[in-house]
């Protein structure tokens, strides 16, 4: 090997900078986008979200506009539908039991269901991450007490408590978000705590402590960013769980109030008029099932992407 001359060193530096390193996140993104099911899930979910956001522009009807002449009319393309219903061609998903356009109602249901999913997941995320990080980082007796509390809550049939809450407080929209979110933070706290316990031992935490960073600062700046991977995965799995919980409550008649609607309400109405108007069940149920599938595919894809050793 020839001795390295001063000029060569500059060359080598140039070569070194032109070869771009791949960060952990870039690697993860590459793996995620190679997963066909996850990409398909993201695309479909994006479409449904866009449809939900632009719902008023996509349909000439309002979500609470009633047309008594067309009660429980089938979609115009439905085989064997009557002349009156076929004449009005713009009701793609048919009409519900009081003559409202089902297409626009399904999209408004998507709005509520997705909003509940996001907000309640954020609530659970905040509680769970802070709680878990605190328990894991502080350790010792405090950790013991905090996690013991989680254990106790774990054995509660929580959906029953949400039902009690909804019964007692007159079906409040905000409360619905908070109640469901408060149910779902337990697993999050456990995941974060486990992750924190392992991160805590690392040298950079010691360095930060030596540098005089306070406990709170270390949790916020060093622990939380390092547990983000498993948390993201769990978030994508929490959103569908929350959507399900809301639909469950709405199905029982304890969720969203008329004329607002959610997928749970629509499915419940559809189940009641199954014999006369099956489209009232099929479309909302289909939308919800597809959405849940998308989240599950994305969650699985993210898990594979962020946690390669699990493959």
């Amino acid at each position: 090997m020839a001795p390295i001359l001063p000029g060569d060193r500059a060359d080598m530096m140039r070569v070194a900078t032109s070869v771009k390193g791949r960060s952990l996140w870039q690697d993860a993104r590459r793996r995620l986008f190679r997963n066909k099911a996850a990409v398909a899930g993201m695309v479909v979910l994006g479409l449904i979200t866009l449809m939900a956001i632009f719902a008023p522009l996509l349909s000439p009807y309002a979500y609470d506009e009633i047309n008594y002449a067309l009660v429980q009319c089938a979609p115009s393309w439905w085989p064997g539908t009557n002349v009156l219903c076929r004449a009005d061609g713009a009701h793609w998903f048919g009409m519900d039991s009081v003559g409202r356009d089902l297409f626009v109602r399904t999209l408004y249901g998507a709005r509520v269901s997705l909003a509940v999913g996001l907000v309640a997941t954020c609530v659970s995320l905040m509680i769970g991450v802070l709680y878990g990080a605190a328990a894991g980082y502080l350790g010792g007796r405090i950790d013991n007490i905090l996690m013991r509390f989680v254990d106790v809550l774990y054995s509660l049939p929580f959906i029953f408590f949400v039902i009690i809450l909804m019964v007692m407080f007159e079906r409040n929209f905000i409360l619905l978000f908070v109640a469901i979110g408060a149910v779902e933070w337990l697993t999050m706290a456990r995941i974060v705590r486990g992750q924190t316990l392992s991160v805590k031992q690392k040298e950079f935490i010691e360095a930060a402590r030596a540098g005089g960073v306070g406990t709170w600062g270390i949790i916020k700046r060093h622990i939380v960013p390092n547990v983000v991977g498993p948390v993201i995965v769990y978030v994508t799995l929490t959103i569908p769980a929350v959507i399900l919980a809301e639909s469950f409550l709405s199905f029982l008649g304890l969720g969203i109030r008329e004329p607002l609607t959610s997928w749970g309400v629509l499915i419940s109405e559809g189940a009641n008029s199954l014999e006369t108007a099956p489209w009232m069940l099929i479309f909302p149920a289909g939308f919800m099932a597809i959405t849940l599938f998308c989240f599950n595919f994305i969650g699985d894809g993210l898990r594979d992407a962020l946690d390669p050793k699990d493959r």
């Binding site: 106790v152 054995s155 509660l156 019964v167 007692m168 189940a271 599938f293 599950n296």
Partner: protein
């Protein structure tokens, strides 16, 4: 072992107490009382009613009274269904819910284990992928969608297969006739089948790779014997710890199933109680279910330790 069981049992008591306390006070914090009707009652009558239900006493006294009665398995009178106590209503609904739940568990275990083993033996082949895809569908699609869909198929349209009429009754209990049980049990079992199949597949894949299974194969045992005698025992272990969550899932599922199929079980009482603001009934059912779940979790944990010699008791 015994000391572990006792320790766990003692640990369950505060949990139950937390549940009771939480449920009780949540109920009382809420605005409005159980007897706030459309019509205002004359004050004397209202006072009498309040006194009859101990509602005139301070809250902490009511709480301890409730605890005292609870210790004698008395959940108090139902506020809305006159002349019935909550205990009576739960006792009336329990046989229906229990039969439904147990049947669903048995069905779920049978088909779930079968599918799981099948998928594990054909790991990463088409059969495996299709079983796991179906399992994913089973987990994703909620009970309140499958129930109406199955009703539509078997009740309303009356699917017939090979000239065989497969139409089934879509509602009513009919004293637990088999025909009436098929649809509700199927609906309840479907998601559990999916979960069981996934669990069994995962653990069986591990076990089938292990050294002792290879030894069993090497000494010339048939594949059937290797699976049933050697692999299955270790492979089914994770199912024991799944028992607790499964019961909780069934309890939640039964709310929907009993509502849809009009079955007179506990779940339906609970939903009706919730809609009618029958506070004591709701409280009673929550406590009952919580106790059930806690006890079953406890049994599952202890069973797991008995069955798996690798888990040591500290």
């Amino acid at each position: 072992m015994l000391s572990y069981a006792i320790r766990r049992f003692l640990g369950a008591i505060p949990t139950l107490l937390v549940i009771i306390t939480l449920a009780f006070f949540m109920m009382r914090v809420a605005p409005g009382g159980p007897f706030d009707g459309e019509r205002r009652l004359p004050p004397e009558i209202e006072a009498n009613i309040m006194a009859a239900y101990d509602l005139d006493k301070p809250l902490y006294q009511q709480y301890f009274l409730y605890l005292g009665r609870l210790a004698q398995f008395d959940l108090g009178p139902s506020f809305r269904t006159r002349d019935f106590t909550v205990t009576e209503m739960i006792a009336a609904g329990l046989p229906v819910s229990l039969r439904l739940g147990l049947s669903a568990i048995v069905v779920a275990l049978f088909f779930g284990i079968l599918l799981g083993i099948f998928a594990a033996l054909r790991q990463n082949k088409a059969a495996d992928y299709s079983v796991m895809t179906i399992a994913m569908i089973g987990i994703t699609i909620p009970t309140f969608v499958t129930a109406p869909l199955l009703t539509l198929m078997f009740g309303v349209y009356g699917v017939s297969l090979f000239g065989l009429n497969l139409s089934l009754p879509v509602g009513g209990w009919n004293d637990g006739a088999l025909r009436n049980m098929i649809l509700p049990v199927t609906v309840l079992a479907l998601p559990q089948i999916a979960v069981v199949a996934r669990l069994v597949r995962g653990s069986m894949v591990e076990v089938l790779r292990s050294n002792y299974v290879r030894t069993a194969r090497a000494k010339g045992l048939s594949s059937y014997r290797v699976v049933t005698r050697h692999a299955l025992r270790a492979g089914l272990l994770p199912l024991v710890s799944y028992l607790g969550p499964a019961i909780a899932g069934l309890a939640t599922g039964s709310l929907i199933v009993e509502q849809i199929f009009g079955l007179p079980g506990i779940g339906r009482y609970f939903v009706q109680g919730a809609l009618n603001r029958d506070y004591t009934l709701v409280l009673g059912v929550v406590i009952f279910y919580a106790a059930l779940i806690i006890v079953l979790n406890l049994i599952a944990d202890i069973l797991y330790r008995v069955l798996d010699p690798r888990v040591r008791y500290e």
